[in-house]
């Protein structure tokens, strides 16, 4: 063979990047830290001033805290919140773990379909779902009345703490499901096979091996669900307040909207307290995740999953899960749809006698039309920007020599623990304090978009990181050795491989940004309304029909985007170009 054709001789030096990698990494880091942690400084400051920050003067005081702590109603709201969170967590984790075990370790009929369907409640617009629940399960709801009048059985009210827990638990159950499912798929099923060979019955294996192996995942999911449920705002506002049950979040919201003097410091004080609790829970969770490594069974390729044979329970349990989905997801959506098409919702008159288009027609103008437009713009632009930003930050965090990179994952995950209303109040103060830029953000939808994006950063990171971790770092080292700098290597080698994850992050961010609402209730002004916040305020004013129509818009867009997204995403991942 010819050896002469091998070209020898030195080549020109590799080209250097225009933007030095170090500068880019510094900027990314500084931006992440400023945007995530920035809003809390004004919040803290506002909670120790004797007047709102925009007023001249003011001095240090602990009066807001004293005032807040002196109110019995505040402590009562805490007590309600804790009961609610504890009950929600128990329900969601038990259900989620059970369904996860059924879908990964047994021959349950339709387990593949179920493991996708049970995720739906987490992605559907939460506020709309609560409305749907009231339509079918509320005091005057269809099913409630049916049970009451035809069968003469009372159903538990969803306007009580256990009732609200049930509603919230069905929404958060997918988190427990996903965590347990991931742990079960990762766990080597030969551990269970070994127990079977040692003579244990399938149920014994479940009790002695599978469930103990799940313990870290259960703890992890429980902490997260607890944290999320102490912060929820829609449920207490829509279900609790009418029945005189206040949670911390709704208490602060009411305090803010009904205050005699605007923007009371005690709300900031309450927000600080909530923030401390949430942060504490996040730190606990980080400890737990660290401990999880001990339980990860090393080795074992993607082995065949040993199925526990259910026998005739195979269909009965499938039926039970089917009924669960029917009652908690499908019926509320149908109720919501019905609500949007009738003059008023009552089981006493057949709905076809009350049909009307007027609710849908109302979406065409004023605040409703504005909200839809704004929400769509925020969802598209925000999802693009946040995906790009999180991608860059994830690269800096895991694929750069940057000195402070290890702090980034924590900072990026932090907003997950922060109640939405706190992000709202924090950005409200931050915009007030940052002069012209703040004014511009405050008076346009971009401020709300920023708050929504920051709140959902963790989601994008959670989607992005596992894919990045699977891309071997020898691939970028090979790029560096070939003469490319950090940025060129990232752009030409890592980013193309990260594309499926970026796409998934974009889809999820779009859905979340479209449906998010609680940070916005402190930020909306005339002209910058978004769907969720409008639904909340209009519902409180009694405009149920149009709100239901608006919620149906959210549900429809969400379902379509998810369907399209999962189709395209599947094609991407099975393209066979995986490393």
């Amino acid at each position: 063979m010819a050896t002469t054709s091998y070209p020898a001789g030195t080549l020109p030096r590799p080209r250097r990047s225009i933007v030095p990698a170090g500068v880019l990494q510094w900027l990314t880091w500084a931006l992440v830290v400023t945007l995530v942690l920035g809003p809390f400084l004004p919040l803290l400051y506002a909670s120790v001033r004797d007047r709102p920050l925009y007023e001249v003067g003011g001095r240090f005081t602990v009066e807001p805290y004293r005032e807040l702590f002196g109110q019995r109603a505040f402590w009562h709201a805490w007590w309600n919140t804790l009961q609610f969170a504890a009950l929600t967590t128990t329900l969601a984790v038990t259900l989620g773990a059970a369904v996860a075990i059924l879908c990964t370790r047994t021959d349950l009929a339709g387990r593949r379909a179920f493991s996708r369907l049970v995720l739906l409640p987490l992605l559907l617009p939460s506020l709309g779902m609560v409305l749907g629940w009231t339509a079918v399960w509320g005091d005057g709801g269809y099913i409630t009345s049916f049970f009451h009048q035809r069968l003469h059985i009372g159903t538990p009210s969803i306007n009580t703490i256990p009732g609200m827990s049930l509603v919230e638990a069905t929404r958060l159950m997918p988190i427990a499901f996903l965590t347990c499912q991931a742990a079960l798929v990762r766990a080597d099923s030969s551990l269970e096979d070994a127990a079977r060979s040692a003579g244990a019955s399938p149920l014994r294996v479940l009790r002695s091996i599978t469930i103990p192996m799940l313990r870290p995942a259960l703890l992890n999911a429980a902490t997260l669900i607890f944290t999320l449920s102490i912060a929820v705002l829609g449920i207490p506002l829509l279900l609790g307040v009418p029945n005189n049950i206040q949670f911390v979040s709704s208490y602060l919201y009411t305090l803010w909207t009904n205050a005699s003097s605007p923007d009371p410091g005690s709300v900031s004080a309450g927000a600080m307290l909530l923030l401390s609790v949430a942060t504490f829970l996040l730190l606990v969770r980080n400890k737990l995740i660290g401990a999880e490594a001990r339980f990860v069974s090393v080795g074992g390729k993607a082995t065949r999953v040993a199925f526990l044979r259910l026998g005739r329970w195979r269909w009965m349990l499938a039926g039970a899960i089917g009924f669960y989905l029917l009652f908690t997801t499908l019926l509320p959506i149908l109720g919501l749809a019905l609500m949007s098409f009738v003059v008023f919702l009552t089981p006493l008159i057949p709905p076809w006698e009350l049909l009307t288009w007027s609710h849908w027609q109302m979406l065409n103008d004023g605040v409703f039309r504005n909200s839809i437009q704004n929400s769509l713009i925020i969802a598209v632009v925000g999802a693009v920007l946040a995906t790009a930003f999180v991608t860059l930050a994830t690269l800096v965090a895991h694929r750069s020599p940057f000195r402070l990179r290890r702090s980034l994952p924590f900072v990026m995950l932090y907003p997950r623990a922060i109640p939405g209303i706190i992000i709202g109040i924090g950005f409200f103060w931050a915009f007030l304090l940052t002069g012209a830029i703040g004014d511009w953000l405050r008076n346009s939808i971009w401020g709300i978009m920023l708050a929504f994006c920051i709140r959902n950063l963790p989601l994008a990171y959670i989607v992005m990181y596992p894919t990045l971790a699977r891309i071997g770092d020898e691939l970028d080292r090979a790029g560096r050795a070939a003469g490319a700098g950090w940025w060129t290597t990232s752009r030409r080698i890592v980013l193309p491989l990260l594309r499926p994850a970026m796409f998934a992050a974009f889809i999820l961010l779009f859905v979340e940004l479209l449906n998010d609402y609680d940070p916005a209730v402190f930020l909306v002004r005339p002209g910058t309304e978004v769907m969720g916040a409008t639904m909340l305020s209009e519902f409180i004013q009694g405009a149920v029909g149009p709100v239901a129509a608006l919620a149906m818009v959210q549900v429809a867009v969400t379902v379509v985007v998810l369907l399209v997204g999962s189709k395209v995403f599947n094609i991407e991942t099975t393209g066979g170009r995986d490393a």
Partner: protein
């Protein structure tokens, strides 16, 4: 092709010393191997040369240029060292065709299109991968991916080639072919090459010189024959091939030879030795294939021929292997022809014995 000089590299991970004063020089055009068990520091050394790890002390010179010098705070980023590297996983970029993989380093160097095409063609011809230019990595076998990785490391005429366990993902037969092929290529191109492996067969068959490493230190540097036949210490002897270890005390000196009272038996062993003193303890190593096994009634040779009992015998295709017991001393001997009987005689040639530290 320049010479590579590594001077006193020190690198610690926490309390552990990954590199403890590592120094060596790789000559122009030489294939130099770092051999050792996992965790011995060979990969850390290679990654320090490539620029992916930062030692705390020492100097790395390529030609007359220092790419790393702790004292002068010089550390060129990896992309400015102009080294070619083949990784254990090959790290062929999965989203690029073979052509695009090879074009990347050339585009980074702003070469003209025609020149890029020419260079890629020449390099692919060299690794016999011309027909696969348009393929994606997942359409190639492991061996072909490895050739692409090598081609990508060669296409920009790097000053040095670094190979990080490049054969460990190939199956046994392919591995042996790839070895001689890479060695041949390296020799023809005259590339200064550093090769990292934990496989002694690879190290012995390919290298011009071998550095045996353990626990962050270099134990011995020498030609394959040197490290195999004249291991500097017991670690090298035991790591490079199999070995019998015999310990004993010098009973007397006889010319250039020391006569040992062997531990655990009443036999004596005569070994070549310069500078050993009476009553000194010596450790002697001898390769199993250097020993001869004789029938028990064979009385031809006196020195270093002992009675032994056969503990087990195994047929291994091209040779027989005996586990022997002489007193409480256990020995392994390999021989081409079988010897019958539960008791035999074993001969240990004196010049096959090496005294080690």
């Amino acid at each position: 092709m320049p010479e590579i000089s590594i001077e006193s590299l020190v690198k610690t991970f926490g309390a552990q010393r990954a590199l403890d004063d590592v120094s060596f020089t790789v000559r122009d055009g030489e294939l130099f191997t770092l051999l050792g068990p996992s965790g011995c520091g060979k990969s850390t050394t290679l990654m320090s040369i490539a620029g992916f790890q930062q030692p705390e002390q020492g100097r790395i010179g390529v030609g007359d240029r220092a790419v790393f010098d702790a004292a002068q705070r010089i550390s060129l980023p990896a992309e400015h060292r102009n080294l070619g590297i083949v990784f254990q996983s090959y790290a062929v970029w999965p989203h690029m065709t073979v052509h695009e993989n090879l074009a990347f380093p050339l585009k980074v160097r702003r070469l003209k299109r025609s020149e890029i095409r020419e260079r890629i063609a020449g390099t692919l011809e060299l690794v016999e991968m011309m027909p696969y230019e348009k393929r994606y990595p997942h359409e190639l076998s492991g061996g072909q991916q490895q050739r692409v990785a090598l081609a990508r490391a060669l296409v920009y005429s790097p000053s040095v080639l670094l190979l990080d366990e490049p054969f460990s993902n190939l199956d046994a037969k392919l591995r042996i072919r790839a070895r001689s092929w890479v060695k041949d290529l390296q020799h023809r191109l005259g590339l200064t090459t550093i090769f990292v492996t934990h496989d002694q067969d690879e190290a012995l068959s390919m290298s011009d010189r071998v550095a045996v490493m353990s626990a962050g230190e270099i134990q011995q540097i020498g030609t394959p024959e040197d490290v195999y036949r004249r291991p500097a210490n017991r670690f090298v002897a035991e790591f490079v091939g199999r070995v019998n270890v015999i310990e004993g005390v010098v009973a007397h000196i006889d010319g250039g030879r020391a006569v040992l009272d062997v531990d655990g038996s009443d036999h004596r062993l005569t070994v070549p030795s310069s500078g050993a003193r009476v009553k000194e303890r010596l450790t002697v190593v001898v390769r199993p294939e250097a020993m001869s096994v004789l029938p028990v009634d064979d009385q031809t040779s006196g020195t270093n021929t002992w009675d032994a009992s056969v503990h087990s015998a195994a047929f291994l295709g091209d040779h027989y292997e005996y586990e022997l017991e002489a007193g409480s001393l256990q020995l392994i001997a390999q021989t081409a022809r079988p010897v019958d009987g539960a008791r035999i005689r074993v001969h240990i040639p004196g010049d096959a014995c090496s005294v080690v530290e």
